[in-house]
Amino acid sequence: MGNIIRIGMADLKASHHPAILTTLGLGSCVGIALYDRTTKIVGLAHAMLPDSSQVKNKTNAAKFVDTAIELLVKEMLSLGASKKRIVAKLAGGAQMFTFTQGAELMRIGQRNVAAAKSKLESLDIPVVSEDTGGNYGRTVELDSESGMLLIRTIGYGTKQI
């Protein structure tokens, strides 16, 4: 067991092995877990909004899915990871409330997940597994030893992906 490193909302961190990266209570935000199997370098981002180009204030790169992924990959590479080996796992992107009228804010979870997939695809990073959507929150833990992503919920069980 390595250090437990906590990542807040609109936050990201990368680490050498050994480490456990965790972020608590992902709702409509998306958790992007990246892993290099050989060096065991890990990275985790907790991003809130799909697209930095639609918002004026973008001082915090970790807030947006697209810029968060770019920055996280960059930090992992600077720790010695190889871009060819990085794989991704996704969690979160839930719709916490259901309104009959399809207000824009209700679909944000879905849009966050879609944005993460398209950004990762553009960087040739494969998404190897995901636990996204639904209407419940998730806490995730990324273990640098195995690259396993542990997902805990309230009332929807625990799983590893």
């Binding site: 209570g25 809130m48 916490m96 409330f97 944000i108 929150g137």
Partner: protein, 216 residues
Amino acid sequence: MKKTNKGIRKMSVNFDNLDNIQIDVLREIGNIGSGNAATALAKMLNKRVNMDVPQVKVLQFQEVSDILGGAEIPVVGLLLRVTGDISGSIMFILEKKAAGVLVNILMGKPLDEIVVFDEIAISALKEVGNILAGSYLSALSTLTNLNILPSVPELAIDMAGAIISVPAIEFGKLGDSVLFIETEFSEGSTKVVGNFFLVPDIDSYEVLLKALGVAN
């Protein structure tokens, strides 16, 4: 700074540099709104309900999910859409334990009885949401002379972080912090802490601040 054609206009409001006057105004709205809400709640419960001076808080995203004691604490969130002269959403969040106490008060049961969040309990809590949000918004409406209407509430029970992500994401479009109003209601020796998030849609900030007489 680029203008887009998607309706995101140049804004003069940003929570990260809200000046003191604006925070005072929002605090005042919080005061009046919550005072009304406490009175409405007292009527509903048929009991005297006291309310502490509400605190307007501005927190960074990293800290915000800890407001109710941790991102994984189970909470009840009530969300209403707001329409009329301004649009946006209003959210009331309270700890699941506190929500249970509230349900017991409403049902006339012993306060420490374990609550099953069944349909009856959920509809009782939605009614509390209706009353709190309705009285809160009517105070705001009177103060600003704006027509503001709430929708019926939606309820979710889940981790604090996940519930708070909903208003936090809306604030995220504007800045890097979240503004909310913490209110403590007490009935006898029982205290219920609740947090209000009033989240105007981006275009409504100017309308709101202009109506309050503080637009720059």
